[in-house]
């Protein structure tokens, strides 16, 4: 260190000032948005943000190559953004600039992005497009509702569905039937557990993303089919409370205790690498299971009640939208149309194991051979599933279903909070958010 005390103090002050200033600069925001963009010439470069970068990079690059071959005047710059950080990337770009021309936007984050006035309404373009009448009406309605109900800010690319993945090899060895009902599910979870041998019946999601899964289990067992009863939510209905109590009772009894911090990646990795009987996740993890457990697993829609009633909460529909700030909306729309064409939509969904939004793609052969997708699509389309629509349209939904309540769900798992208190707290927050949202409509 310098031997001059004054110089040393000056150096210390500089280093400290910088460190402290970085503390205060950590939450900067300039609050500007509203660039109206341009239609552009329909030629040149556009930028596309993939909202599930890494996982879907390969198939998007293939689709982009096909598009550029067909549209040699347009170059698409692909940017893959990991699913867990895509919302903050969009928020940062909306406030600070740098939005892409086109981007993947799932229904769960659509309300927050639409509220920031960043997305271009697509109704008029769709009305004049060959895609008109070729997209699943249910999915179109879903993205319209998630965007506030009046305008359509994204076109749906795929739907997902809650799936119970189970290990056929372990079930056969234990002489168990497929866990098609909740009764069979609980019985199998218990029978497959042998903690001394590192065998567990089920893995529960205790970390990030736990709320939607917990609600899926609660509504699935209670049989309640509506999220709202007038202005009040049904999440804390006594039947849901009882169902959730039973579900969280699985923790540590038939699940690894490490599940407490499980997010999607940890949960799926644990199931794919261990000896765990069942996993609840949507169709999106199909490829991961295929790589790790080919021939040893199946995916079926969530269990039914004993009378055959199947109730599930809605999964956010994935979509693709054009940003208002785009300087080349004509080219961006060409890309959107191409991505949702029969061939591209089929290709993308086959890679993801999801249900195509393009009705022609939904009839393709691969859907019939990908069992989990086929069963999910059939269950959704034949009306045997009663879907509880989660309120993705609420600007507060993201925080209520994440940071505000995930710690409380962990408390429930740890026995430090009752399921009733947890659901009552959540219900109070939801009722308040719904009332505020309605007031602004």
């Amino acid at each position: 260190m310098s031997s001059n005390p004054r110089r040393r103090r000056l150096a210390a002050a500089l280093a400290l000032t910088t460190a402290l200033a970085l503390t205060a600069a950590a939450c900067g925001d300039d609050g500007t948005s509203g660039d109206k963009g341009k239609e552009g010439s329909g030629k040149g470069e556009i930028t596309f943000w993939d909202n599930n970068g890494g996982v879907r990079t390969e198939v998007w690059k293939e689709i982009i190559a096909d598009f550029e071959k067909k549209n040699p005047d347009i170059k698409v710059n692909y940017v893959g953004i990991p699913a867990e950080s895509v919302q903050s990337k969009y928020d940062t770009a909306i406030q600070g600039g740098g939005l892409p021309d086109v981007g993947g936007v799932g229904a769960a984050m659509l309300a927050a992005i639409a509220a920031q006035n960043a997305l271009e309404p697509l109704d008029d373009r769709l009305a004049k497009s060959p895609l008109k009448d070729k997209l699943s009406t249910a999915m179109v309605d879903s993205v319209r509702a998630a965007g506030g109900g009046e305008q359509m800010f994204t076109l749906p690319t795929s739907a997902n569905n809650g799936t119970l993945w189970y290990r056929t090899d372990l079930f056969e060895a234990a002489g168990l039937d497929e866990p098609s009902t909740w009764t069979k599910f609980y019985a199998a979870a218990e029978k497959l557990t042998d903690k001394g041998k590192n065998h567990f019946g089920y893995t529960i999601r205790g970390g990030e993303g736990s709320i939607a899964q917990a609600l899926d289990a609660a509504y699935g067992q209670s049989g309640i089919t509506e999220f709202w009863n007038g202005d009040k939510t049904t999440v804390n209905d006594p039947k849901n409370v009882a169902a959730l109590e039973k579900y969280v009772g699985l923790f540590k009894k038939v699940t690894p205790s490490a599940d407490l911090n499980n997010d999607f990646k940890k949960m799926v990795a644990q199931w794919d690498s261990g000896e765990i009987g069942m996993l609840s996740h949507n169709l999106g993890s199909y490829q991961d299971h295929l790589k790790a457990l080919e021939g040893k697993f199946r995916g079926i829609p969530n269990p039914t009640l004993d009378d055959g009633t199947r109730v599930q909460v809605s999964n956010p529909v994935d979509g693709i939208g054009i940003f208002k700030s785009s300087k080349n909306k004509t080219a961006a729309w060409k890309f959107v149309e191409f991505a949702l064409s029969h061939e591209s939509n089929s290709k993308w969904n086959e890679a993801a194991g999801a249900i195509p939004s393009n009705l022609e793609a939904a009839g393709d052969g691969w859907v019939q051979s990908a069992e989990a997708t086929k069963l999910a699509a059939a269950a959704l389309n034949d009306g045997t599933i009663k879907i509880v629509q989660l309120p993705y349209y609420l600007p507060d939904w993201n925080s209520l279903s994440k940071a505000d309540n995930e710690p409380n769900f962990q408390k429930v798992l740890l026995g430090k909070m009752s399921a009733k208190d947890f659901l009552d707290t959540l219900a109070g927050q939801l009722d308040e958010a719904q009332a505020e949202w309605k007031k602004q409509q």
Partner: protein
């Protein structure tokens, strides 16, 4: 021998008095101007922006609520937000334990690798190597080490120690220690490097004189080494305390702030408030409070430790 007379050079062309005096005066300012402008752009502006938004209700997803808040956000922080106090207490505990242990272990390692022994260069490289590993990679390494299927607890269970399916990060009694150990691995080399650098400048004469006077190793350490290291220790602990207070990446990756919010630091709470809830006004107020706390702590620490004032 007489030197040959130098060939007389013609005198330089006289410049105006104004030019002669102005250029040297302006030159330093011109040279630091680019850095100064960058600092203004990248530090002063964001800091000012945070102060501004701390006095606003600002949530872009709820434009109907936006507007001047006065001191409302601060009122809520201090009177009706238990999470603020919980996360502040946890942040303080995290900083004290982390910085204390990192200093002790860093000092011990620096003293060891300052000795002369075979393989010292390799030893130094090993000690410093975690500091060269990126934060993301560090997080991944420790996530894998603590994983219930591939990590330490799995192998301990194979040996009959503990149960299968456990992770120290999911156990409320071990999560704090487990996170501390992971961050120690990354932080200790910082102290070791700084202290070793300062150890190199201690005059050997002092130790020789102390030995002549009969002082043992321990006495030499407390009366020569430690006083010499004082300023390095004060500055490094202060900087590290600020960094540890602001720790987000490692804890976010390892625990997500859980279980049940047990490892949520104040900056992690700020991140959740801004990123998930989009409540930038309140998050800015929380950040401003954190800034003021760190500012007072830093001045008090420097004053109490008499940093840079013990030169004899």
């Amino acid at each position: 021998m007489a030197r040959p007379a130098a060939v007389a050079k013609p005198p330089p062309r006289p410049r105006s008095t104004r030019a002669r005096s102005a250029t040297p005066r302006r030159l330093p300012y011109l040279l630091i101007a680019p850095a100064g402008l960058l600092m203004l752009g990248f530090i002063a502006y964001p800091v000012g922006s945070v102060f501004y938004y701390s006095l606003q209700h600002y949530n872009p997803t709820k434009p109907w609520r936006n507007g001047f808040a006065g001191l409302d956000n601060f009122d809520e922080i201090f009177t009706s937000d238990p999470l603020f106090w919980d996360t502040l207490v946890f942040s303080a505990k995290w900083v004290v334990v982390e910085v204390g242990l990192q200093l002790l272990l860093g000092l011990a390692l620096a003293l060891i690798v300052n000795q002369t022994f075979a393989g010292r260069a390799l030893g130094r490289a090993l000690v410093f190597s975690p500091w060269a590993v990126s934060g993301v990679l560090t997080s991944v390494i420790w996530v894998l080490l603590y994983n219930s299927q591939t990590g330490v607890t799995r192998y301990l269970a194979d040996l009959g120690i503990g149960e299968y399916g456990t992770s120290w990060l999911s156990d409320t009694s071990t999560v704090f220690s487990a996170a501390i150990v992971a961050d120690l691995w990354r932080g200790v080399p910082f102290f070791a490097i700084l202290i070793l650098a300062d150890l190199q400048s201690v005059s050997k004469d002092l130790y020789e004189a102390a030995e002549v006077d009969g002082a043992g190793r321990l006495r030499q350490f407390f009366h020569i080494t430690l006083p010499h290291l004082k300023d390095a220790i004060v500055l490094s602990t202060l900087l590290r305390a600020v960094w540890e207070f602001n720790n987000v990446d490692l804890l976010y990756t390892l625990t997500g702030g859980g279980p049940a919010g047990m490892t949520t630091t104040l900056p992690l709470y700020v991140a959740n408030t801004s990123v998930d809830a989009h409540d930038f006004g309140y998050a800015s107020a929380l950040t401003t409070v954190a800034f003021v706390i760190l500012l007072f702590f830093s001045f008090a620490y420097l004053r109490l430790s008499k940093f840079g004032r013990n030169e004899s």
